[in-house]
């Protein structure tokens, strides 16, 4: 016991320092790719962003001045269609699970929701292709919207269920005690008070859907021009970025970076904004 500490303790202390350092290194290694990616996206993207990019549609190979304007609008439209399908089902379905879903039926429905959350999204695209594209005999924004709805649905349902569960019973019971019919209580009291959390879930699902490519590859397909018709192919940011990225033309690669910058900015903005203003929601 020379220095006041037994040798075995010193070894333990060293071990501790080593492992602590290892976890710090792990954290660094986890963060470095993110910074590398964001740096590339920002630097390469900014140099290609100009007014043309936001106002024009794609132009033929070799010409300049092309943009992703129609793709940006397209993503907005397709995601909106997705919301149209998934919000009603997700919110009311989540509400049902929280309020009346304690038995066997609830168990199976909850299980289906959980499993669907883990589906490879390209499968939703294939499903939408069979359901809409083959029957309508055309690629369409509706098919794409439906595929994205399937991507968003499990998340919206789960969040709604979680949020509704957190509404205090007393709130519901006092409203019922005041004589309000149950359905009105559900809509105007329960959903209303859970709304900020549900909205968070919807926005996070939207951010996720906006970044999806695979479900749109053979549903909404792509379009070089302005198109607002829902029964025609529609451009989207992700598919356009993909096409530009794998092409050998440098102007197109630059547009891919610019598109990535725009898309990542929008998604990060939504994600951070939503996190700041409400409780963290786990999907694990």
């Amino acid at each position: 016991m020379e220095n006041g500490q037994p040798r075995s303790f010193k070894i333990r202390k060293i071990k501790e320092k080593v492992f602590l350092a290892a976890t710090m290194l792990a954290t660094l290694a986890a963060i470095v790719p993110l910074f590398s990616l964001l740096t590339y996206v920002v630097i390469k993207g900014i140099s290609s962003i100009n007014l043309d990019f936001f106002l024009h549609c794609p132009v033929p190979v070799g010409e300049s001045g092309g943009g992703m304007a129609n793709a940006m609008v397209g993503t907005f439209i397709i995601v909106s269609i997705g919301c149209l399908f998934s919000i009603p089902i997700g919110v009311l379905g989540g509400l049902w699970l929280a309020e009346w879903g304690k038995g066997k039926r609830g168990f199976y429905i909850r299980y289906a929701v959980d499993v669907m959350a883990g589906f490879p999204t390209i499968v939703f695209g294939i499903f939408a292709y069979m359901l809409f594209v083959l029957t309508m005999k055309r690629f369409s924004a509706i098919a794409g919207g439906f595929a994205l709805a399937l991507v968003m649905l499990p998340y919206i349902t789960k969040t709604t269920e979680e949020m509704v569960r957190m509404v205090p019973r007393s709130l519901k019971e006092s409203a019922l005690a005041l004589g309000l019919p149950e359905w009105k209580v559900m809509i105007f009291v329960v959903l209303r008070s859970a709304w900020s959390g549900i909205f968070t879930g919807i926005m996070l699902a939207v951010a996720r859907a906006a970044g999806e490519t695979a479900p749109l590859l053979f549903t909404a397909f792509n379009n070089m021009y302005w198109n607002f018709r829902l029964d025609q192919p529609m451009a989207s940011m992700t598919v356009q970025i993909y096409n530009y990225a794998i092409s050998p033309f440098e102007e197109w690669n630059n547009l891919a970076w610019a598109g990535s910058l725009t898309l990542v900015s929008i998604i990060l903005f939504i994600t951070l904004f939503v996190r700041k203003f409400s409780r963290r929601v786990t999907y694990g």
């Binding site: 333990r12 071990k15 501790e16 602590l20 290892a22 976890t23 290194l25 792990a26 986890a30 963060i31 993110l34 590398s36 990616l37 590339y40 996206v41 009603p88 089902i89 009311l92 379905g93 699970l97 009346w100 039926r105 429905i109 289906a112 499993v115 669907m116 883990g118 589906f119 490879p120 999204t121 390209i122 499968v123 939703f124 294939i126 499903f127 069979m130 649905l153 499990p154 019919p181 149950e182 359905w183 009105k184 559900m186 996720r208 906006a210 970044g211 999806e212 490519t213 590859l217 970025i241 993909y242 990225a245 891919a256 990535s260 898309l263 990060l268 994600t271 951070l272 786990t282 694990g284």
Partner: protein, 288 residues
């Protein structure tokens, strides 16, 4: 709540509950319909190739010979590489955030790692092609590295949650017995959180299996099995992205759908397993 429920004869209430139930029930209906449609459209391929499809590595559209083995192999190997890289990094990061980081930086490190999860797959692919491609080539390894980066947030976030859920009393008693901080983590936190951590790993695996765009942009798109991870390969989701829209014959189309079915079954099994581990963790938590 149910034993307090009063049977309303109020039509409004019954309608509302019925509508809500129908919408909720539509989810498993959609789920089953997807399986049914895939099975139906894949029937030609299933009849033609039977069970051997999974074990065959033939891929000759000219001679109408198809086999899914190269894609299954590719999906599994690229996911495995991703796990080998992401598990130590993800758990290490989770430990750092939950146990070791000073309070002021906990939140922003956690947020940063979570942001990784929000980035679209196609943007990862774009970065991968131009930044990782020159380093690793268009290969299984490259795909594995990109997948690792993509599933790391999942492993980290879930592990972090379960670790933070470990009651402080356990930590304190370990410290009280003279454990160093690392020893406390090793003996008090990790074993308690073990089930959830394993769940996070399996969840990460589930995500890696289904990942499409980033993989297809860097894996080399070669339908063959090679023992070297520096060689190009293919995966179930990548071949669907590349070749689904152009299946040249009805049989080819049917083969594609069968591949989608195999992918789906894999994803469902893996995710189901993950849920089991995490539910076990959650119920442990509740029984405290």
């Amino acid at each position: 709540m149910n034993n307090v429920a009063i049977k309303y004869t109020n039509r409004g209430d019954r309608w509302f509950q019925a509508v809500a139930f129908l919408l909720a029930a539509s989810i498993p209906v959609i789920f089953l319909t997807i399986f049914a449609m895939l099975l139906w459209q894949a029937r030609e391929s299933i009849f033609q190739f039977g069970f051997g499809f999974i074990f065959s590595s033939a891929w000759d559209p000219v001679k109408n010979q198809y086999g899914a083995l190269p894609f299954i192999y590719g999906t599994l190997i690229s996911s495995l590489i991703a796990l080998v890289l992401a598990v130590p990094l993800g758990i290490g990061t989770a430990i750092f955030i939950s146990e070791l980081a000073p309070a002021w930086c906990k939140e922003w490190i956690a947020t940063t790692v979570d942001l990784l999860a929000a980035i679209p797959s196609v943007v990862y692919g774009l970065w991968g092609v131009f930044v990782l491609g020159p380093i690793f080539g268009l290969s299984m390894l490259c795909a594995g590295v990109i997948l690792a980066i993509m599933i790391l947030p999942t492993i980290c976030a879930v592990s972090r949650e379960v670790m933070q859920a470990v009651p402080n009393s356990l930590r304190e008693s370990a410290r009280a017995m003279g454990a160093t901080q690392w020893e406390m983590i090793k003996t008090a936190v990790l074993p308690t959180a073990a089930s959830g951590i394993i769940g996070s790993i399996v969840l990460g695996l589930g995500r890696a299996i289904g990942e499409t765009m980033a993989v297809t942009m860097v894996i080399g798109n070669r339908p063959s099995i090679s023992l070297s991870i520096f060689d190009p390969g293919y995966s179930l989701s990548a071949v669907l992205a590349n070749e689904f829209a152009e299946a040249s014959s009805n049989l080819n189309f049917s083969v594609m759908v069968e591949i989608a079915l195999i992918l789906l079954v894999f994803a469902v099994i893996v995710n189901g397993l993950a849920r089991l581990f995490i539910w076990k963790m959650v119920s442990q938590d509740h029984s405290r």
